[in-house]
């Protein structure tokens, strides 16, 4: 717990230093309205990182989140085009429900058939993208086809913060309570920390993994609607490769890829760290083409630091065996 706390402090410090560095040359970057814009821009990443964190906690990984987001977003956009009268809350319910079903599909394959999660989600990632093409016929749903209410929701201001940011904050709080105060939340940690011990305490490992995938899918579905309505466009390739940023956010946030270690705060800060970098690049005049390489390096550096820090010192019986681990 002590290490986790310090990790979050380090990350907060890093974000502040980063913003300070940018602000020395461009003071406008830390103006309140710009900080709100940066947070709002990072909100989808925060939401997805929370879902991904739960999946990683249970020793799994979900590479299909971006494709899930794109498919749900396309379905929402098409519903809106076909029936502009459908109110936004119902659209959101459909988005969350559809996302959860897609996530549950991953979960079932991991739980009931015991297929490695990386294989399952690599497969469903392409299947979901392909399905978008099938249902949309490869066509775009453009801004002028969407109803004003559909597009207005994520931008609607409430207490000078856009709705999109409020949803990210609300979900952070809900999932913080879920992860720290409920049996389900604690079972995710138990399953990842020691699956065998979890079984003996009466926790069904596969079932917990199933719920992790379902929750991750539900969040991806929610982001699907928000993404499509915010950018007012839906097509096959939206958020292509975004799953890598989501994994990067989690790894930077100190979520151990071997499961069992991590916190909501870490995931949110990891996402914010990437969000600040992403928004600072154009300000300091670096081409956005750098972003992919920066995310990649961030993953590698973070995983190297995490693994070093998290390695528990055991009694060394055989020097060589220790080296091989």
């Amino acid at each position: 717990m002590h290490i986790l706390k310090s990790r979050e402090m380090i990350l907060t410090g890093a974000i502040v230093v980063l913003m300070g560095l940018v602000a020395t040359r461009f003071p406008g970057f830390i103006a309140p309205h710009n900080l709100v814009a940066v947070f709002n821009d990072t909100s989808p990443l925060i939401l997805l990182a929370i879902g991904q964190m739960i999946v990683i906690l249970t020793k799994c990984i979900d590479l299909s989140v971006a494709a899930n987001l794109a498919l749900t977003g396309m379905v929402c956009a098409m519903i809106n085009v076909a029936a502009p009268g459908v109110p936004v809350p119902i659209i959101i319910a459909i988005a969350v429900g559809l996302g959860a079903i897609l996530g549950a599909f991953n979960g079932i394959l991991v739980w009931k058939l015991d297929i490695p999660p990386i294989v399952v989600t690599l497969g469903t990632m392409t299947i979901f993208r392909g399905v978008i093409f099938l249902i949309s016929d490869g066509k775009w749903v453009n801004s002028h086809e969407m109803s004003p209410a559909f597009k207005a929701f994520p931008r609607a201001d409430f207490l000078s913060l856009p709705m999109l940011s409020w949803i990210a904050i609300l979900m952070t709080v809900i999932f913080f309570v879920l992860m720290t105060r409920t049996t389900l939340g604690r079972s995710f940690y138990a399953v990842g920390g020691n699956p065998h011990a979890a079984v003996y305490t009466g926790i069904d490992v596969g079932k917990s993994q199933f719920w992790a995938f379902t929750l991750s899918g539900a969040l991806a579905g929610l982001v699907g609607y928000l993404w499509v309505s915010r950018y007012a466009v839906a097509y096959v390739d939206i958020a292509l490769g975004f799953e890598l940023d989501v994994v990067a956010a989690c790894v930077i946030g100190g979520i151990a890829i071997s499961g069992g270690i991590g916190s909501i705060g870490g995931a949110v800060l990891g996402a914010l760290f990437l969000g600040v970098i992403k928004n600072a690049l154009p300000v300091v005049n670096i081409s956005p083409f750098w972003q992919m390489a920066i995310s990649g390096s961030a993953i590698i550096i973070a995983i190297a630091v995490n693994t070093r820090a998290g390695r528990t010192k055991g009694r060394i019986i055989l020097k060589n065996a220790e080296a091989a681990q």
Binding site: I118, V119, L122, T126, A324
Partner: protein, 327 residues
């Protein structure tokens, strides 16, 4: 992850019985079935040049799949192969701007491949990081460097004789790529099934600690496997770049999925420990013929990717469903 109980049968199967029941035989039957179905579905399928064209659908991916098969058998994975292709191709494109001879281009592609493999290898074996995350990171990093170099531009202007690697024919309809594929298949088949190194790879996949205690240099073997995967991605980059004649940063995007699918379809256990090169070879033919057949029927590429994704999951799911149903 639960370990399957190791059951020792009280009567061994006869070699013929074993061979008939093997995954390779099943796969071969599927391959023949698809071949026949294709020739009925499209009148253009049964044509020597068409079939020769069809081989380009899988030769480059299969070259990587051979090395990837060994890597997966050893219990690791490399998801950065498609990005290594992008980086190697970008390097070749950059060098080609200086009018260098063709062999320098090829050498550049191969060495960038090996260097990328070495980078993965150092992170996984020396620093002891999990290969899935490392290669997800390098997947972003390698292709990211291509984007930094190229942005929205493309490299063209490769020398004329460079086109041979991807477009040349050795004899009648037999392309250079196909010959290279066949030679590599034999080399990797011997490496995995007939050498100490191959046995070490299987042993590591089954039990890394046990392998270490039996005197196998686990980390060195894994290091070599990552180097080989990088090298093969470099070889594939040379072929693909030569075939396309230009380099964009998005070259080979998503190819890692098809390579992993090919390996798994070839009967390699995704958890490591077992697999065969003949299986991967047949799987390459199956995937190549399926995508080519669907292409002849005017099925768009992205719809084929549904098929490939379903194939990847189905191939692992079906045997497990089968055992569950039998119980």
């Amino acid at each position: 992850m639960t370990h399957a109980d190791r059951i020792i049968p009280d009567r061994l199967q006869s070699p013929l019985q074993k061979r008939l029941k093997s995954w390779e035989t099943l796969l071969m039957a599927v391959a023949i079935g698809i071949f026949v179905a294709n020739s009925f579905a499209s009148p253009y399928f049964l044509n020597a040049w068409n079939l020769s064209d069809a081989t380009f659908n899988f030769t480059e991916k299969a070259m990587i799949a051979f090395a990837m098969a060994l890597l997966i058998i050893a219990g690791e994975i490399d998801l950065s192969v498609a990005s290594i292709i992008a980086l190697a191709s970008t390097a070749m494109g950059a060098v080609a701007q200086f009018d260098v001879p063709t062999f320098v281009l090829v050498l550049t592609g191969l060495s960038v491949g090996v260097l990328c493999g070495a980078f993965n290898a150092i992170l996984v074996t020396i620093m002891g990081l999990p290969s899935i995350v490392v290669t997800i990171g390098t997947m972003s990093l390698f292709r990211g460097i291509s984007y930094i170099v190229l942005g929205d531009q493309a490299f063209r202007g490769y020398p004329k004789d460079f086109a041979f690697f991807g477009q040349g024919y050795v004899f009648w309809v037999i392309s250079f790529e196909f010959v290279l594929f066949a030679v590599l298949a034999v080399i990797y088949g011997i490496l995995l099934h007939k050498t100490n190194f191959g046995r070490a790879v299987c042993a590591i996949g089954n039990n890394p600690t046990g392998a270490l205690f039996s005197g196998i240099r686990v980390n060195r073997v894994k290091f070599i496997l990552f180097l080989l995967t990088g090298l093969m991605s470099g070889v594939a980059a040379v072929c693909l770049t030569s075939r396309l004649g230009s380099t964009r940063p998005s070259i080979g995007l998503g190819m890692e999925l098809e390579v992993v699918t090919m390996v798994v379809l070839g009967g390699v256990n995704i958890l490591g420990g077992s697999g065969s090169i003949p299986g991967v070879v047949i799987a390459a033919f199956v995937m190549g013929m399926v995508t080519f057949g669907l292409g002849l029927l005017n099925v768009p590429g992205i719809v084929m990717s549904i098929f490939i994704g379903a194939l990847l999951i189905g191939v692992i799911a079906l045997p497990r469903l089968w055992t569950m149903w039998k119980e």
